[in-house]
């Protein structure tokens, strides 16, 4: 599986440069707009959310370059091919979250309208939401290809966004420190995301085993 991870690393470095540019822009915006809003750090959350799309983008590159067909001739099992995408995507998401966390530390110490722990709580929430993206989109991408998987993802993301923001209004109306002490919701949410991620991986492996690799 080392070869698959290395391939995805090279492709990410070469073909996903736009991701890094967008990250830099959003982090810069959160600093630049700190005078006009107390919650400018929320701009930094976008890269974290966006990192969840990487695995799907890599799969789309694999289809474009016929790597999917080629990997069918290499000594990899379907489980290894699927697992490598989840694993690489996860590592990438963790690294993105770490970079954003470092930016938040700087932000909290220089601008400081919101405490670091408050910002980090938002980051944690956004990171778990970003894990939902591949969990939902990848089984469809492995089954039907990325074109249809992408359509499903956008429908899902729009729906999730609508539900989340409606819910977030009420949820964040509490003071979050109080909320953590008195409510188990964050823990339940994290557990649900972990379970969803594991189920998604199992489904993707099962559908990819049955998929006929034609082109």
């Amino acid at each position: 599986m080392k070869g698959l991870l290395l391939k995805d690393f090279y492709v990410t470095m070469k073909s996903c440069k736009m991701f890094f540019i967008v990250y830099a822009i959003f982090i810069a915006m959160s600093f630049a707009l700190s005078d006009s809003t107390d919650e400018s750090f929320l701009f930094m959350m976008y890269p974290v959310l966006m990192s969840g799309v990487l695995a799907m983008s890599l799969l789309s590159f694999d289809e474009k370059f016929k790597w999917i067909k080629y990997s069918g001739a290499l000594p990899y099992s379907p489980a290894q091919i699927v697992l490598s995408k989840y694993l690489f995507g996860f590592i990438y998401q963790v690294l993105t979250a770490l970079i954003v966390f470092l930016a938040l530390v700087v932000w909290a110490n220089t601008i400081g309208d919101t405490t670091l722990s408050e910002a980090a709580f938002s980051l944690g929430g956004m990171f778990t939401i970003s894990l939902v993206i591949p969990s939902v989109s990848l089984p469809f991408c492995f089954k039907f290809g990325t074109e249809k998987g992408r359509i499903f993802y956008f429908v899902f993301a729009f729906g999730l966004g609508a539900v989340f923001f409606k819910f977030a209004d009420k949820y964040f109306a509490y003071k979050y420190e109080e909320h953590i002490k008195t409510n188990y919701f964050p823990l339940i949410w994290v557990a649900a995301v972990v379970v969803l991620y594991a189920i998604s991986l199992a489904i993707s492996i099962a559908v990819y085993r049955k998929r006929e690799i034609t082109d």
């Binding site: 698959l4 016929k66 990997s71 006929e212 034609t214």
Partner: protein
């Protein structure tokens, strides 16, 4: 005793409008088998079935004496494949491809890979997407021959220009000097097959029309250009 590189028995695959119909082929070790046929005859389907990339409806495939439905991942360590569209991402350069394959094949040899690339005169630092079609296929061939494969499945050589094709045919010939090495070559260039193949299999619309030793084919078969009436009059 040398094991057959390939034993295909009654291999069948149905699609809408196409059926690979009960294919039987045997490729002895140390030999080159030319698989010939028009576009859509079933050559690519056969290769995908050999690699278990698509599910067969009937029949069996043995690669180097092992059934391909059981331990195909391990079997693929001994198989080198070159597809006509290769399948390497455009943004990778040839060195990076080598590093990826080092992490893929247990028996990968950087030395063999470098030597083949040098021999085939492939630029090492250009992105794969910037290479000519011929050079891309050469990279595919170098990968397929750098992990001590015992069986080569090649559907790329026919896409090369005549000069490069000759170079590749020489390499394939050298490869099969070892009795453990065999090649299944899918092509529609009859002159190439005549030059290097030991066996010829002719597929037409999913059916095996002919499977014969090349020498027997040259000695015993011919082409007659005449009317059906004249043909009927012949003994």
């Amino acid at each position: 005793m040398t094991v057959n590189a390939l034993e295909i028995t009654n291999l069948t695959k149905k699609y809408n409008g196409f059926k690979l119909d009960g294919l039987n082929l045997t490729l002895p070790g140390g030999c080159i088998l030319g698989l010939i046929g028009e576009n859509g005859a079933g050559k690519s389907t056969t290769i995908k079935l050999i690699l278990d990339m698509i599910k067969r409806d009937d029949g069996s495939v043995k690669i180097l004496g092992r059934d391909n439905s059981g331990e195909i991942r391990l079997i693929k360590e001994d198989v080198g494949t070159v597809f006509d569209d290769v399948g390497i991402p455009d943004c990778l350069n040839v060195r990076q491809v080598g590093k990826i394959m080092r992490g893929t094949f247990k028996n990968w040899s950087d030395k063999d890979y470098d030597a083949l690339l040098k021999r085939l005169d492939v630029p090492l630092d250009k992105p794969f997407g910037k290479l000519s079609r011929g050079n891309r296929m050469k990279v595919g061939i170098a990968v397929a021959m750098s992990h001590n494969a015992k069986l080569l499945l090649d559907e790329a050589t026919s896409g090369l220009d005549p000069i490069v094709r000759d170079e590749v045919l020489d390499i394939l010939n050298e490869f099969t000097r070892d009795e453990e090495h065999s090649v299944l070559m899918s092509s529609h260039i009859v002159s190439d097959l005549e030059k290097i193949c030991d066996y010829i299999a002719f597929l037409h619309k999913g059916k095996l029309i002919l499977f014969e030793e090349k020498d027997a084919l040259l000695a015993e078969y011919g082409v007659i250009h005449c009317t059906e009436q004249r043909l009927a009059e012949l003994d």
